[in-house]
Amino acid sequence: MTTILTYPFKNLPTASKWALRFSVQTKTKKTLAKPNIRNVVVVDGVRTPFLLSGTSYKDLMPHDLARAALTGLLHRTSVPKEVVDYIIFGTVIQEVKTSNVAREAALGAGFSDKTPAHTVTMACISANQAMTTGVGLIASGQCDVIVAGGVELMSDVPIRHSRKMRKLMLDLNKAKSMGQRLSLISKFRFNFLAPELPAVSEFSTSETMGHSADRLAAAFAVSRLEQDEYALRSHSLAKKAQDEGLLSDVVPFKVPGKDTVTKDNGIRPSSLEQMAKLKPAFIKPYGTVTAANSSFLTDGASAMLIMAEEKALAMGYKPKAYLRDFMYVSQDPKDQLLLGPTYATPKVLEKAGLTMNDIDAFEFHEAFSGQILANFKAMDSDWFAENYMGRKTKVGLPPLEKFNNWGGSLSLGHPFGATGCRLVMAAANRLQKEGGQYGLVAACAAGGQGHAMIVEAYPK
């Protein structure tokens, strides 16, 4: 592990050179098309700039952000609104007023009010769930054109009254006489007013995710320095990609009453010395996960246009990529909370009949540096593979030079419900740009779940 990390990211060869080198390799499979199953393609995908929560988006509501992504998608693809069969959005922390945020956003974004929409939730892989739901609908012939996306607005979260207060208020509503009301009011205590914040912890274990990530890092002997190095890599690569204009999925968003936001604002390459000064954020004082090597609370939305291949071609589109095999996994939410990619990767590769070597672009969700590196160590460990995965040999490491080359959730940001689409678009755009054929997207999620999907470049 240390050897790949000490590989200086600054000296990474440019993408085109790599493309040259890998295009001479022969793939184990020419394509992943399956007989008698419709091919599903990504026509295009967009996202709003991802912003640190509490910045320019802080006065919006989630459906405003989602609407911005949807409008952006309409502009980018010029898809006629009446051909869209269905809209699916992922979100995690729900605004109670707009619990079906997909519908509220679509109505305001100029989609037809005849297009049904629903919202899904699966923690950090909610957008992945939105996409794969769409894939299922198309592959089974139920729909031809789907818009899938995700949204998260961490600037505002539903803070509730305590259960006791809520009960009192509901009972008061039902009380008929003044006497009943007075007797209810007499039960009021000041501690009823203590608010209930949405828990950032795992419901089943009451452990916060950062805490779990710190333990995971320690369990896989990931050092603080390694984590800081990885975070620095993510920020540096994101900065480079932003500067070179590679993040083409970002669409500008004119925030009402504020300036037009054009780019992500969480990318902050720092120095190892600066990062080393931070104190651990979760396990104090000896932990290793800090604010600098964790993903930050983010506002953002994403949307993708997914179609049956023949429909896209008939409409004259040139798709970007195929969405191929995908896999959901889940494991113990306490000690394996963030190991989803380790479990999902070999399974999806096996399902598709590919090997690690066939993959040209890896796009893994970076919840924490420690989580990514722990996954690397798990994938690189024969002992882990034998004892916990029932495999004879280790999964193997994804080569770092193909891994999250345009930055990741640590630097670009991680709006829980929207990240999945960003990952797929990054993989698709990288394959287009770098000339590879297969991309692998993987992510972990609260609840001990995980997802992986193969993205195949659409032939030029």
Binding site: A218, A221, R224, L278, P285, Y286, T288, A378, S381
Partner: protein, 712 residues
């Protein structure tokens, strides 16, 4: 200081280990930190024995003498076990109190040296840190513990009738304050890592690790060691202070305890409470209070001296010998003497009868056994399920479980699946009912399934008479309340319910019921002679029984007692006579079934704490009144009439081969029936009191009453 911390796991330290290989303790040097690892190769747990003690001194002397070493970490290499306490056998070999005092003083000196050494030592605690282990840990300058369920700290010496004899009584008050120290040492409760942190018993917690690149338990210990090393460096560099910040409440308590008058009041209150609870039968708690008091009021020199002397005298008296005997017996009864079962029991069915069935269910689901609970009616089944849930929820309120774990455990309670490996029947004690149930069950269970009858009186051979496959029918008897009491005596079983198990031969009343029944019969006789209930109860509790004799009948159930008495008298004859069973019969007919029906000898009401006599029983007693025999009726004789009948029957069971060993008999009597623990069980009692004196007593009572007292 983040740099060394961040690299802790990279193992940049080169470790040089001492050449000498010892049996219990070894150490290696990492940089300037000595890592002292305890791993007794001779036993499963680490105990502070003479050998370990001397090896520890050797190692410490080397550490202190090596210039390169600036500080040390003390850790156990056994996952889940730090030091379980001092070696009890070490005390058993001592012949005089002076010898024991010497052992104590040696330990005191070692720990004092450790405490005052210029090179700080950090105790890295994972697993049980009890008794002498705790005393060692608190002599270190800093304590780090893993925050998991297995890490417990405590001073259980009082359970063995002794006191912490290696400086614990002197150091603990300073660390946790006087009120908390009494609570710790007098109740001997186990303190989990996080509450230990709150009390100030440990300074830092380390999170346990899940799966990773090595087995989690091993890896957690290595992680603990690595974290402890960074803290050791921090301590040596004075970047970390061993002093901890006290909360406001703590500061206030500490302040009030500086007022002599307040202290005197605290001592007085605690002494009163101890007197009330022990009825003067157990000397250790009072001595503990005394020693702590001496240390605080007259300085540590006097305190240490008093500690070692009292330790010496306590270790030699009969109460501590009895309690230590019980401890050994218990260890013995937690082993499975029959080897691994042919087939693991994974699915279990439990049939009926309220409290007991639910109790067995709870201990089973708790151990992740898929359990089916069945009862005759939906309402009764509902009660059973509710009781299991209540039991689990209680643990949630105590923070021993999360609500999620509760739900997940509760999901082991399943519905109507009949592919079970074992059926435990807990229906009412009625032979024809038990026969019916057995036949019905046998019609649907698979061939390998074991049928266990939860009976306290019927011989298993009688129950199995209607079975198609009597070799698969066994008996199991659980003592209630199931989840708290420590004993499940069974005729043969390999369940994982975490019970202390004794195995007895088949026979009417087996062992425990057989011992209890003659005593119950004597209770009736004594009541018939006009001794009032409360006096009888106070006589039995002052002898050391946890509940009074009349209360015991109420607890067991008057109907159950009646069944027991009738069946055993039929089977075993006159020895079970004495009291007139008519008393029980009449009480049952009036519905006075004991606590469960709300009325027995006493009246039981929800939310009413004090017990009131059930005056309706008086009239029955009056009608059955018998004249007392003055020569054998004073208080002491009443106590001995009860106890000698119990003991006589126990010895009979051993002689007949019902019991395999006296140790098992002692354990079952103390933990199952509440035989006074200060006597260590009926067999221990015979040894302590003197067999001849007991025979003499029996003969005296035989002359007055007849054959039920004939010594065996």
């Amino acid at each position: 200081c983040s740099e060394p911390r961040s690299r802790y796991i990279r193992r940049n330290f080169t470790e040089s280990s001492a050449l000498l290989t010892r049996t219990h303790i070894n150490y290696g040097v990492k940089g300037d930190v000595a890592v002292i690892r305890i791993k007794s190769s001779t036993s499963k747990v680490n105990t502070l024995s003479k050998e370990l003690h001397s090896e520890f001194m050797e190692v410490m002397n080397e550490v202190w003498a090596t210039n390169q070493i600036r500080n040390a970490v003390l850790i156990s290499s056994k996952p889940g076990r730090f030091i379980a306490g001092a070696d009890i056998n070490m005390l058993a070999t001592c012949k005089t109190p002076q010898e024991v005092t010497q052992v104590s003083q040696e330990a005191q000196r070692t720990f004092e040296k450790l405490e005052k050494a210029a090179k700080p030592v950090i105790a890295a605690i994972s697993g049980s840190c009890l008794g002498g282990g705790l005393e060692l840990a608190i002599s270190c300058q800093y304590r780090i513990a893993t925050k998991d369920g297995k890490t417990i700290l405590g001073a259980p010496e009082v359970l063995l009738g002794i006191l912490p004899g290696a400086g614990g009584t002197q150091r603990l008050p300073e660390m946790v304050g006087v009120p908390a120290v009494f609570d710790m040492m007098l109740t001997s409760r186990n303190i989990h890592a996080d509450s230990a942190k709150k009390m100030g018993l440990v300074d830092q917690l380390v999170e346990p690790l899940g799966l990773g690149i090595k087995p989690p338990e091993e890896w957690t210990i290595e992680y603990l060691e690595a974290v402890a090393i960074t803290f050791a460096k921090g301590l040596a560099d004075k970047k970390i202070s061993p002093k901890r910040d006290q909360g406001l409440v703590e500061k206030l308590t500490a302040y009030t305890m500086t007022i002599p008058f307040v202290r005197q009041q605290v001592y007085k209150k605690v002494e009163e409470k101890v007197q009330k609870e022990t009825k003067g039968l157990y000397p250790a708690p009072l001595k503990i209070i005394d020693v702590v008091k001496t240390g605080i009021e007259r300085g540590s020199d006097a305190g240490y001296l008093s500690e070692s002397q009292k330790f010496g005298s306590l270790a030699m008296i009969s109460e501590s010998k009895a309690l230590m005997g019980l401890y050994h017996g218990q260890v013995l009864c937690k082993k499975n003497k029959f080897g691994a079962p042919q087939k693991d029991v994974k699915r279990l069915a439990i049939l009926g009868e309220g409290l007991k069935g639910a109790g067995i269910t709870q201990v089973s689901v708790d151990k992740r056994l898929k359990t089916i609970l069945k009862d005759a009616t939906l309402t009764r089944l509902g009660h059973g399920q509710q009781q299991v849930f209540k039991g689990l929820n209680y643990k949630v309120n105590k923070k021993a479980l999360t609500s999620f774990e509760r739900d997940s455990i509760f999901s082991n309670l399943t519905g109507n699946v009949l592919k079970v490996d074992m059926v435990i029947e807990a229906v009412f004690e009625d032979l024809s009912l038990k026969h019916r149930v057995l036949k019905e069950v046998e019609a649907v269970i698979p061939d390998h399934c074991v049928f266990a009858s939860n009976t306290s009186a019927f011989p298993i051979s009688e129950i199995a008479a209607v079975s198609k496959r009597p070799e698969k029918v066994i008996g199991m008897h659980y003592f209630s309340p199931m989840d708290k009491m420590q004993l499940a005596s069974a005729v043969a079983v390999s369940l994982k319910q975490g019970k202390v198990i004794i195995v007895v031969m088949d026979g009417p009343g087996f062992y425990t019921t057989r011992c209890l029944a003659p005593m119950m019969s004597e209770v009736i006789r004594i009541l018939q002679e006009g001794v009032d209930l409360e006096k009888l109860d106070s006589l039995t509790t002052s002898f050391g029984f946890p509940v009074g004799a009349a209360t015991l009948v109420d607890e067991v159930g008057v109907d159950v007692a009646k069944h027991m008495a009738e069946d055993l008298r039929k089977a075993l004859g006159e020895r079970f006579g004495g009291g007139n069973p008519e008393l029980l019969t009449q009480m049952v007919s009036k519905g006075f079934l004991g606590r469960k029906s709300g009325k027995g000898f006493y009246i039981y009401q929800e939310s009413v704490k004090s017990k009131n006599l059930n005056s309706d029983v008086d009239s029955i007693l009056v009608s059955l009144k018998m004249p007392p025999k003055s020569e054998v009726s004073p208080g002491e004789d009443i106590q001995f009439r009860l106890v000698t009948r119990f003991v006589n029957e126990a010895v009979m069971c051993l002689r007949e081969g019902i019991l395999a060993t006296p140790a098992e008999g002692d354990i079952a009597a103390v933990f199952g029936l509440g035989f006074p623990p200060c006597f260590g069980g009926p067999f221990c009692f015979v040894a302590l009191y003197g067999p001849q004196k007991i025979v003499d007593r029996l003969k005296k009572y035989e002359a007055a009453y007849g054959k039920q007292f004939t010594p065996c």
